[in-house]
Structures are given as structure tokens and as C-alpha cells.
């Protein structure tokens, strides 16, 4: 996983540099620093540094690996968060938050259905009041209106 992360970073650095060298000019026609000056230096340095760090990582075999349980919990929360992002787009801020909290708490805080249900309703209500009513800020609108 660790090596994969470094490889992904290297791929991103190469892609960034490719655009800097292919599409962006180093200097402008008037001889000033062009839009590609900074990106080219950044991209080239990022490639060198990432390869250096990657080679060191490959030599370092004693790097700690998390227990499967640790990964399961964090993967669950990440999946729930990404699911929430999709729900926000579909059902809007208020409904998506109620659904997300109900599902997340039933999985993470098992055995306390009443408490979880209360939190799933009260937190979205508080957040709605704070953002929409008090601060007059934007709440995500629903793409699909639920008949409630």
C-alpha cells in the first residue's frame, strides 16, 4: 500500500510535468517568465524527489503495516463518507445527513438504537438551523426530491 501510494505520486508528478513541458511556455514572447516556468521546476523536482523517496521505501522493508482491523474500520468510515458525498448530490443536505448519520451510527455505535436515532435527527436539525437559518449559508440542494 505504501509503495502504491508513492507510485501514484510519481505518476501524478510525471503527468504534471508532461503538461508543464508540453503545453506551458517557459518564457513569454516579451522575454518574461512564462506560465510554465514554475510548473516545470516543480514537476521536475517532484519527479526526482519522489523517485528518491520511492527507492528508499523499497529498501526499507520494516515499514509498519496496520492490522487488518485498523484498515477495516478506516475503510468503512471512508466508504461511508464517500456514500455521503453521493447522497448529498442526490437528496440534498438535510435528508442526506439524516440517512448518513443513521447508517454510520448503526454501524459504528452498535447496540444503542435510541441514542443513534436521536443523534441522527438532532444533529441535522441543528446543522440546518445553523447554516440555513442563522448563517444564511448554502445547503446542498436535492437532485431528487423525496415525497416527505
Amino acid at each position: 500500500m505504501r509503495i502504491a501510494f508513492f507510485v501514484a505520486l510519481l505518476a501524478a508528478s510525471i503527468f504534471y510535468s508532461y503538461i508543464a513541458f508540453a503545453d506551458l511556455n517557459f518564457m513569454t514572447r516579451s522575454g518574461r517568465l512564462g506560465p510554465g516556468f514554475f510548473p516545470r521546476i516543480l514537476g521536475a523536482t517532484a519527479i526526482v524527489m519522489t523517485i528518491w523517496a520511492l527507492l528508499e521505501e523499497m529498501r526499507n522493508e520494516d515499514a509498519p503495516h496496520g492490522a487488518a482491523q485498523q484498515w477495516r474500520d478506516v475503510a468503512l468510515l471512508m466508504a461511508l463518507a464517500l456514500g455521503y458525498a453521493v447522497l448529498l448530490r442526490l437528496f440534498g443536505g438535510l435528508v442526506a445527513t439524516v440517512i448518513f448519520l443513521a447508517v454510520a451510527l448503526s454501524l459504528l455505535n452498535r447496540g444503542k438504537p435510541l441514542k443513534n436515532a436521536l443523534i441522527s435527527v438532532l444533529v441535522p436539525a441543528f446543522v440546518y438551523l445553523l447554516f440555513d437559518r442563522i448563517l444564511n449559508a448554502n445547503m446542498p440542494p436535492a437532485l431528487i426530491d423525496l415525497p416527505i
Binding site: 511556455n25 517568465l33 523536482t45 517532484a46 474500520d73 459504528l108
Partner: protein, 508 residues
């Protein structure tokens, strides 16, 4: 006399009822953020920045600043009662804070940490009041070459302080700089890395990245570390103790420590990249070597708690100097504060205090009031914060996800930015896990566009010659100071860490 009248003007602005309310909300929220393990001031500031958008700019900045220094007060409560620092700047407070609590002296420890924080914070604000105008005066001769070098100094010192993992720090900074290049190039009008998206023309906005990295990233890491499974079972029941207030001996034995560590913390705080964590560790080590009871450090010595507490609060104040007078944030938290300034169209720098006196002096004056409020809150609202410590992380986690997502959306009503925040959260988790520096990334994202602009202006002035950096005396001074910091900071870091290591062993 000018400073005094400016300060009085600032006080008249700060003590309006609505500003006092914002200040108190900021102070309480800051303490809550500090109390929650895994969340530091940068996370609190990033998550709550969108909430301040509907407010008056002065009130909003006062509230954000109160969150920033309030987190230092809150972080120690868990250090003392649970042996778990709320954030990295309060790690040193566990060395003697928890042993004191185990000896049945949690009450006096909590009161003394509040007083030490107040003294450190207030001495820090007094020094800001005196020194900030002087710094602004000196930096008035600065031009684009100096601004570029200052941005470089901020980045270099931060990376140097990362220590053995410096390569990963450099890569983190490069990612931040690269994200900063997205959008339309203001000089030529050419789009860079927008891939035809209208949403990216204005560049990658700072807030989704900061909220993702510090809010969601830290939350994911807390779950990975198993914080959601550990309860608050080991919490010391301070309310069952006979004596809550410190003894005369506690006050007398720590009075010099408070003064000494306030100045030390402030000086370290002014240095970009050093920050409150290093200040607290250095103060602990220094006090340990100067104290007659040095051998008791790590076993429940009051001066061992007071020293880091005074220093980390003074350092938070010190970090405001380069922010206000140079426009250069020295840490992730002050980078978020800088972003807040920029959002309201204010550009901190040498002319900032002269051109925006109400704003600058209102903020400084509010810090005096904020520290007073925090002293009272820290002592009398301890039961409230103990209740917050008892909220399980598995319940808190999903609620933090909600605040991060809705906060990000509220800024520009943009789903792209909201998805970007979730992406930054996942990347932030892996960065944290594998030793990368989210602080370096965020600092580079803020400083990158400023540095690029300054460099291009410099090259235009010098007609493409880099010799300009050594021809101007202010530039030469900045280069000399940067070299000195790059050499000295790792030594100071090592000194702080080694002495603290000894203290930890002594306490075991």
C-alpha cells in the same frame, strides 16, 4: 504613545457586544477543538472558517483568532486528566501534568495550566503590541525579491523542522505548490491544469483542501489509530479531590518559570516553521536544566507543567507577528488564518497595520480580552470539557464528516469543491499515515501563488538576473537569517526532543 492610542482604538472596536459574543464563541469552540484528541487548531480553523462567512470581517477574524489560541488552552485538559494530549503542542504537558493528576493534584494542575496559558498568551500579546509596529516599519523597504525569499524561508524552516522525514516534507510542499498553479495565469491569461473545467479557472480553492487534510484526514487517521475504540475510562476524577486550588508554594515556585518561558515561547513562535510544539518542548527542557528540582521533572513537578503551557501560548501569539507584518504564515494554523484574511480582501504585510488600523488593532486588543475569557472558562467550565472528552469518537466521527461536508459546500455552493474535500481527506489520511506533512502542503498552497507572483515580478525588475537577490541589503539579510535558521533549528529541535525523552523515561 502611538501604540497606546492605537490599542485603545482597538479596544473600543473589540468590546462591542457582538464582537465580545463572537470572541466568547471562538474561545469556547477553540477549547472544544483542543480537547478532542487528534484535532488541533488548524483543523478547527479550517472546519469552522466557512461558518464565519456571514459575519462582519472584524468579528469573524476575532472569532477565528480565539479558536486558534483557545485550542492551546483546551489541549492541556486531556493531557492532565487522560495522559492524552489534545494536540501536538500539549504533548510536553503530559510529562508532569498526568503524574500530578495521579498524585491527587489534578485540580491545582488544571488551575495552574490555565494561569500559565493566560500569562504566556498575555505576555505574547503585549510583545505583539510593542513589536508588530516595529516589524512593520522594518519590512516597509521590502519588495518582490524579499517577499519571494520570505516565502522560501517559511517553507524551508518548516521542512527542516520535519527532521528525518524531510524528503516527504519537500514532496508535500511540492504538491501544495503544484495545486497552487492550477487556474488562469494572471500575467498571460493562459489556463493551467484546468482541463476545460470552468470550476477550476479560478484555481483550486484553499478551504476544501485544508478541511479535507486537517478535518477528514485527521479523523480517518484517528479511526486507523483506534481512537474510536478507546473510551475515556482512564480519566482522572478531579472533582473527588480535597483541594482544587493551587498552594502558595505552587505559585511561588513557578513565577520565574512563567516569565522566562513566555519570552522563550514568543521568540520561538516568531520563527516561521518552529511553532508552539517546538516552543513547549524547548521550554520544558530549558526549565528542567535550570530548575533546582530538575530531577523531579517527569514525576509531577508543577514547573514542568507550567513551562510548556506558558511557552505554547506565547508561541501562538508570536506566530501572529510574521503573519500580520510580513503576510507570511509560519504554520498550518496561521496559513488558515491568512486564507481567512485574504477571503475578506485583506492582505497582511508591512502596510497592513497602517492601512487597516481598526482591523489590526481590533484583533490585537481582542487577544487581551480573549486570554482573560479563556482563563475564566478554563477554570470554571472544566466539567463541560470533561463531558466532551466522554463523547465517544465513534459518535463524534460521523458528525465531523457532516460539518466538513456542509461547511465546504456553504462557501461557494460547489459540489466539485465538496468532492475535492472528500478526495483531500483520503489523500490526507495516507499522507499522515506515511509520514508526509499536511502542514507543508497547506502552507505551500497558500504561499505558492504569492511566491510565484513575487518571483516573476522580481525577474521583471532585474531583467532576468538572479543577482538581484544578493544585491539588495534586505534580501541579503533574509538569506543570512534563513541559513542561520536552517542550521540552528534542527539543533534546537534535537535539544528539545532529547531532554523531553529523558523526562518521559523519568516519569515511567
Amino acid at each position: 504613545m502611538d501604540i497606546f492610542s492605537d490599542l485603545v482604538m482597538g479596544l473600543t472596536i473589540a468590546i462591542s457586544p457582538i464582537n465580545i459574543l463572537y470572541l466568547l464563541i471562538g474561545a469556547v469552540v477553540g477549547m472544544i477543538v483542543g480537547v478532542i484528541p487528534g484535532f488541533g487548531p488548524s483543523a478547527g480553523l479550517a472546519i469552522l472558517l466557512p461558518v464565519t462567512f456571514g459575519m462582519d470581517p472584524i468579528g469573524a477574524i476575532m472569532m477565528l483568532a480565539a479558536i486558534y489560541y483557545g485550542a492551546m488552552y483546551g489541549g492541556t485538559i486531556t493531557s492532565i486528566l487522560l495522559n492524552t494530549p489534545g494536540e501536538s503542542a500539549t504533548v510536553a504537558s503530559t510529562f508532569d501534568g498526568f503524574p500530578l493528576a495521579k498524585q491527587g493534584r489534578a485540580g491545582p494542575a488544571l488551575v495552574m495550566q490555565a494561569v500559565a496559558s493566560f500569562v504566556g498568551g498575555t505576555v505574547g500579546v503585549i510583545l505583539i503590541t510593542i513589536l508588530a509596529p516595529m516589524f512593520a516599519q522594518v519590512s516597509r523597504s521590502f519588495g518582490p525579491p524579499e517577499y519571494f525569499l520570505l516565502a522560501l524561508m517559511g517553507m524551508l524552516t518548516l521542512i527542516v523542522m520535519i527532521g528525518a522525514q524531510w524528503k516527504l516534507g519537500v514532496i508535500s510542499a511540492l504538491i501544495g505548490f503544484a495545486l497552487g498553479t492550477v487556474g488562469v495565469d494572471l500575467e498571460t491569461g493562459q489556463s493551467r491544469y484546468t482541463f476545460g473545467s470552468a470550476e477550476l479557472i479560478g484555481g483550486i480553492y484553499f478551504i476544501p483542501i485544508a478541511i479535507g487534510l486537517f478535518g477528514l484526514g485527521e479523523l480517518f487517521y484517528a479511526f486507523y489509530s483506534g481512537l474510536h475504540k478507546t473510551g475515556s475510562g482512564g480519566i482522572v476524577e478531579y472533582d473527588k479531590e480535597e483541594r482544587f486550588w493551587p498552594t502558595a508554594q505552587d505559585w511561588l515556585s513557578t513565577r520565574v518559570t512563567m516569565v522566562r518561558c513566555s519570552v522563550l515561547g514568543f521568540v520561538v513562535g516568531v520563527i516561521p516553521g518552529a511553532g508552539a510544539t517546538i516552543a513547549s518542548l524547548m521550554a520544558y527542557s530549558t526549565e528542567r536544566s535550570l530548575s533546582k528540582n530538575g530531577d523531579n521533572f517527569g514525576k509531577g513537578e508543577m514547573a514542568g507543567l507550567v513551562a510548556p503551557e506558558t511557552a505554547n501560548n506565547a508561541a501562538s501569539s508570536g506566530a501572529m507577528i510574521p503573519l500580520l507584518t510580513l503576510g507570511i504564515p509560519g504554520s498550518a494554523s496561521t496559513a488558515v488564518l491568512l486564507a481567512a484574511f485574504l477571503l475578506w480582501g485583506l492582505r497582511p504585510g508591512p502596510l497592513f497595520m497602517e492601512q487597516n488600523p481598526e482591523f489590526a488593532w481590533g484583533l490585537i486588543a481582542s487577544m487581551y480580552l480573549g486570554n482573560m475569557a479563556l482563563l475564566a472558562i478554563s477554570i470554571f467550565a472544566i466539567p463541560l470539557f470533561v463531558q466532551i472528552i466522554k463523547v465517544p469518537y465513534r459518535v463524534l466521527g460521523p458528525c465531523v464528516v457532516v460539518v466538513c461536508a456542509l461547511g465546504t459546500f456553504s462557501v461557494h455552493a460547489s459540489f466539485v469543491e465538496t468532492f475535492l474535500m472528500f478526495g483531500a481527506g483520503i489523500v490526507g489520511f495516507f499522507m499522515r499515515l506515511y509520514g508526509f506533512s499536511a502542514a507543508a502542503l497547506v502552507l505551500a498552497l497558500v504561499l505558492g501563488p504569492l511566491a510565484e507572483e513575487a518571483l516573476r515580478q522580481t525577474m521583471t525588475i532585474s531583467r532576468g538576473s538572479f543577482a538581484i537577490f544578493v544585491e539588495r541589503p534586505p534580501s541579503l539579510w533574509i538569506i543570512a537569517i534563513t541559513i542561520a535558521l536552517v542550521v540552528l533549528l534542527p539543533l534546537l529541535n534535537r535539544f528539545g526532543n532529547s531532554s523531553s525523552g529523558k523526562a518521559e523515561k523519568a516519569g515511567q
